[in-house]
Symmetry: C2
Subunit: 269 residues, 2 copies
């Protein structure tokens, strides 16, 4: 048992939460009530509550009180099933029976032209300074913020005839299909790198993350390749880490998810 008083208070409250004595969404006693209950100062109570907040067990709402965190049904994204933007193999978590397929919707992209540098140049295997197109989209599920996605393509694709890439509108069917249709560039595979990091300001704002720094974001960097082995695109997608999970199938895996092994489909994440 840790000795600081605020930790003991926190452990006691945690036990009440984890035992179910306090259920999801329930309000805790107010700081003043806890102050009397534990015979501690209000600041010490607040330290205990901060400790619970840091572990995602409770949240405070100014003017209302302190509440046990509600349960989250994470979205599950299948990484080896590459669908067009705005559609996808996304499910709610839960038992097999309650699982529901979800259909994402994407905003029109914000287009920017960058010069490849550092990491980006290495990942797309371009000379430093080469022009690249950046297509940035907000993606929603049930009209709730779900992910932020930026795809980067060599600018040369435009000169070769893929003019839609620099148009600020969604490409129905996805960019990957478009590139194959127009340029004959075929995506034959990709590599995903999955990591977790604190959100930047844009992400915190879009996802509505609390500003206490507790919720991090998944960052998935997908480098997709052409038949020649040349990178075709880099797509960076971020998701709030507290309400998303990812699934990968390797080899032969029995049905249930619509993901025959070893198959390659089209576009993002």
């Amino acid at each position: 048992m840790p000795d600081p008083m605020y930790r003991q208070i926190a452990e006691d409250l945690r036990q009440k939460i984890e035992s179910g004595e306090l259920g999801h969404g329930d309000q805790l006693p107010t700081e003043l009530e806890l102050r009397e209950e534990y015979e501690a100062s209000r600041n010490t109570i607040r330290d205990a509550v901060k400790w619970l907040i840091a572990r995602g067990l409770v949240e405070t709402r100014p003017g209302q009180g302190t509440f046990v965190m509600g349960e989250i049904e994470p979205y599950v994204t299948v990484l080896d099933f590459d669908t067009g933007f705005g559609q996808g193999a996304v499910y709610t978590s839960g038992t097999q029976a309650t699982r529901k397929r979800k259909v994402p919707r994407a905003s029109d992209p914000r287009i920017e032209i960058h010069q490849a540098a550092g990491n980006l140049a290495e990942e797309l295997r371009l000379e430093e300074g080469t022009a690249v197109i950046s297509r940035n989209q907000q993606r929603f599920i049930d009209d709730k913020p779900w992910s932020l996605q930026t795809s980067l393509y060599p600018m040369s694709f435009v000169a070769r005839g893929a003019g839609e890439l620099i148009q600020a509108k969604d490409i129905p069917g996805g960019v990957v299909r478009y590139l194959e249709d127009v340029l004959g560039i075929k995506q034959v595979g990709w590599r995903d790198k999955i990591s977790v990091r604190p959100p930047d300001q844009t992400e915190a704002l879009f996802f509505g993350l609390p500003d206490n720094g507790r919720v991090e974001v998944f960052e998935i960097r997908r480098i997709a390749f052409q038949d020649s082995g040349t990178p075709l695109r880099l797509t960076v997608t971020t998701f709030p880490a507290d309400r998303n999970e990812f699934v990968v199938h390797v080899g032969r895996v029995p049905g249930e998810m619509p993901t025959p092994a070893g198959r390659v489909d089209e576009s993002g994440p």
Copy 2:
């Protein structure tokens, strides 16, 4: 610009860190110095520092001072390359040139017999109450804690002749190869589910995570299947989220990593 004073102080310090004015490992002014510099009370300075801690920008060391967090070179684990326990496709991050292959070492397993219930029963497709073997191992890279792994197998494997499963020692070559050799049970594929959550006490202790709740853990649940489509094992592995990344290859991906697409190898994670 946020108005609370502690946030303004925090933003100012953050800017100094992110601009490089304060480098990795550098010591910040002491609380008393900051108190004079910003003309605030020590408690307010401490609130600012706590905000920086919550974002992983600094750490405090009692008796020493406050320091900018050192840089971490994450380990990169290739999820579609299933190696034997204690070997594996694990790399340091960084540019292609500085990347180094790492070889994990696993402790002897702690063996437990459980009854399948709830999630576990569903995932292994066993009746509730069926006996399962739990093999729990600590895994190290360069003798530093790297991951905790628990593999669960149906108890029936033992009756059918796989007695090594309930021996508290590592099985050279991996359990998957052992099961194929002894029982003819062949692993043909698997499904990984990747999520992030706060560490439990065991994990926090083993990984040496700070008790401020900032560092979460990756949890990777791998259900591996036999040719018949029946689950063969459930392996749950956890990694500190601040120093691990994961890579997945789908379809055809050019060399560099030793992972020809569509190949299936042996055992964990």
